[in-house]
């Protein structure tokens, strides 16, 4: 029996924190994509993650489809849900104010949550990790192989999104909407279509996050709200609208939560991230990497 030193314990907390932080980062990225185009906070963002996890359980365990097929299938189904959210809840709004959009996403999140409870019930589910359960020893700490998948997926998402926003016309159009929606429609960008794309994209990213985390932390129908709040904390910590901010914020929130649970109290684990949110709003509302203008004066 190897003795567990304090240092290796800290390393263990750091690894756990980075793993869960990657999920918060993905949720935060999803928030940013929709926020940049519509200025609305999508309260259903956490439900995408929950749906991703539970649908993957359905495809992987109930239908026994191999990961290589069930993963894209799940992402596709959740993306369709994102598109439906835009088509059925956002697009039909006659006066699409930000307030109305936010209310619509709150309603949609409850609808999705209720539907998930009817389909899957209240119990948590999981499915076997992608590459076994044998932990890898690393400087006295252990790493779950699935944890590496989670962090790897975040890296892939960041790279793909960077290429998408820099190199493709659609990505550039989305960025233009983020700067000024009215001006973009004047130069021929279909803003309503861009809103649709933003919902589809953040649904897909949320679903991926839900899929990779489920083997580690399980998934049940009412996980969405908490994930949304922590993702939003990450978003605000990094500076709302900023993608590097979302990743940094997510990882920091994950680390704070993991160290807080390990060193202070696990009963109040969920409170730490939320205190960070309130503290950031107090001290530096523009976030770590955001510009002050973003939070104060965005639209004229």
């Amino acid at each position: 029996m190897q003795e567990i030193t304090f240092a290796s314990q800290l390393l263990q907390y750091a690894i756990t924190g980075l793993t869960i932080g990657s999920i918060y980062a993905m949720v935060a990225i999803g928030f940013n994509i929709i926020y940049n185009v519509t200025e609305a906070i999508n309260f259903a963002q956490g439900e995408f993650v929950m749906l991703g996890g539970l649908l993957m359980v359905f495809f992987r365990v109930a239908l026994n489809i191999p990961v290589i097929f069930s993963l894209p299938l799940t992402i596709m189904v959740v993306t369709v849900v994102g598109i439906l959210l835009d088509r059925l809840a956002i697009r039909p709004l006659r006066k699409p104010t930000v307030l109305a959009m936010v209310i619509a996403t709150i309603g949609a999140s409850f609808f999705i949550k209720g539907a998930a409870m009817l389909i899957w019930g209240k119990n948590p589910f999981d499915f076997p990790p992608f590459s076994g359960r044998n932990p890898i020893a690393f400087l006295g700490a252990v790493v779950q192989p699935q944890g590496l998948w989670v962090i790897g997926c975040l890296v892939v998402v960041v790279i793909v999104l960077t290429l998408f926003f820099d190199r493709t016309i659609m990505g550039k159009a989305l960025r233009a909407c983020a700067v000024n929606a009215k001006a973009s429609s004047l130069v021929g960008i279909n803003v309503k279509y861009m809103i649709l794309v933003s919902f589809a994209l953040s649904a897909a990213i949320g679903a991926l996050g839900g899929i990779v985390i489920t083997p580690i932390s399980l998934m049940e129908y009412d996980r969405g709200a908490m994930l949304a709040v922590k993702g939003f904390s990450a978003c605000v910590l990094g500076g709302i609208g900023s993608f590097p901010g979302a990743v940094t914020g997510g990882l920091i929130i994950g680390l704070i939560e993991s160290f807080g649970a390990g060193l202070i109290s696990s009963g109040y684990k969920d409170v730490f991230a939320l205190l960070v949110l309130l503290l950031v709003l107090f001290v530096r509302p523009s976030g770590l990497l955001g510009s002050v203008e973003v939070s104060k004066i965005r639209k004229f």
Binding site: I41, K113, M117, L118
Partner: protein
């Protein structure tokens, strides 16, 4: 200039008197009709929730901000009244005031940083607050009794007259509602109300004509938290029991649905919405059982899409269709 913007005073006075008369007659009516009797009990809860929704209505309909934390202010009032009266035997009225003061302070701490920013930071900050408060209610078992709740909260009395029957409490709660409704209607008709409406219209334009946008938003948020706390105290003394599940996120969303369904631009809408949702959840919705959450989601979506001004706008709509 001032009279130009004010809603006609006599009209709202007539409405208020009519409403009060109807409320006064309801229990007398209930004596004759047997199945009505039980509705008086539900109407007490309608009154209690109306106090919360009136504050929320000022916040949402007039200052254009969403709060998902009002169940927590409601709970703060209920727990402060409940714990202190049940465990230390302090006068309920003192606890009610203490609850109001603490809720106001907490609301200021949350509201001040998030309301200085544009956008819906308050919605997420209050969502976070609601989750924190639920955790605290559940974890600090020595005071709150934890998830099982806190029982044996004493009732409340007015000048030595104990409010020990449903009908007495009904009259008490609805008198409070009417007084607060009168105050809120006056706020809307005043200079402050016009400033709030201008913020809802356009923050930029409002600040350009010299309205202190952040200041008003914080004031309204604190006021709405105080109203929620009053309602919470009344709730604790009526039910004599509180538990964390009565003040969680689901309740915050229900309060929000009341406003949206009733019509967020009208205080009457706040009361109509509170009545509809309270009757729905106490009387009718349990037929749906587990699907209840989904039904609430569907109601929000349907109203925000098809009836953005809520149920109170239906007569207006019918009239305009008739006139065509």
């Amino acid at each position: 200039m001032t009279t130009h913007f004010q809603p006609p005073k006599h009209k709202s006075a007539v409405q208020l008197t009519g409403f009060a008369l109807g409320l006064f007659l309801l229990p007398l009516l209930a004596q004759w009709v047997s199945f009505f009797e039980h509705y008086i009990d539900v109407m007490v809860f309608v009154g209690i929730y109306s106090i919360v929704t009136m504050g929320l209505c000022l916040l949402m309909g007039y200052a254009g901000q969403i709060s998902l934390g009002h169940a927590s202010f409601f709970g703060l009032g209920a727990y402060i009244s409940g714990v202190i009266t049940a465990k230390y035997g302090v006068n309920p009225w003192l606890c009610l005031i203490l609850g109001m003061v603490i809720s106001a302070a907490v609301a200021f701490v949350i509201g001040a940083p998030s309301l200085k920013l544009r956008g819906h930071y308050l919605a997420m900050a209050t969502l976070a607050f609601c989750i924190i408060v639920t955790v605290i209610f559940n974890e600090s078992t020595e005071f709150t009794g934890g998830p099982d709740g806190l029982a044996f909260i004493p009732g409340i009395a007015i000048m030595g007259c104990a409010l020990d029957s449903v009908v007495k409490y009904y009259y008490f709660v609805w008198s409070v509602v009417l007084v607060l409704l009168f105050l809120c209607l006056n706020i809307i008709g005043s200079r402050v109300g016009r400033a709030m409406r201008s913020i809802h219209g356009s923050e930029l334009a409002a600040s350009a004509v010299g309205v202190g946008v952040a200041k008003y938003k914080i004031h309204v948020f604190v006021l709405s938290a105080v109203l929620a706390s009053i309602a919470g105290s009344l709730y604790a003394h009526y039910l004599n029991f509180v538990n964390p599940a009565s003040f969680d996120l689901f309740v915050s969303i229900k309060l929000l649905i009341m406003i949206i369904l009733g019509g967020m631009h009208s205080l009457w809408g706040a009361i109509v919405g509170a009545a509809l949702i309270t009757f729905l959840s106490y009387e009718w919705l349990h037929y749906f059982g587990e699907a209840e959450v989904m039904v609430y989601g569907a109601i929000v979506l349907a109203v925000v899409i098809f009836l953005p001004s809520g149920v109170v706008s239906i007569p207006e709509k019918v009239r305009s269709l008739w006139g065509r």
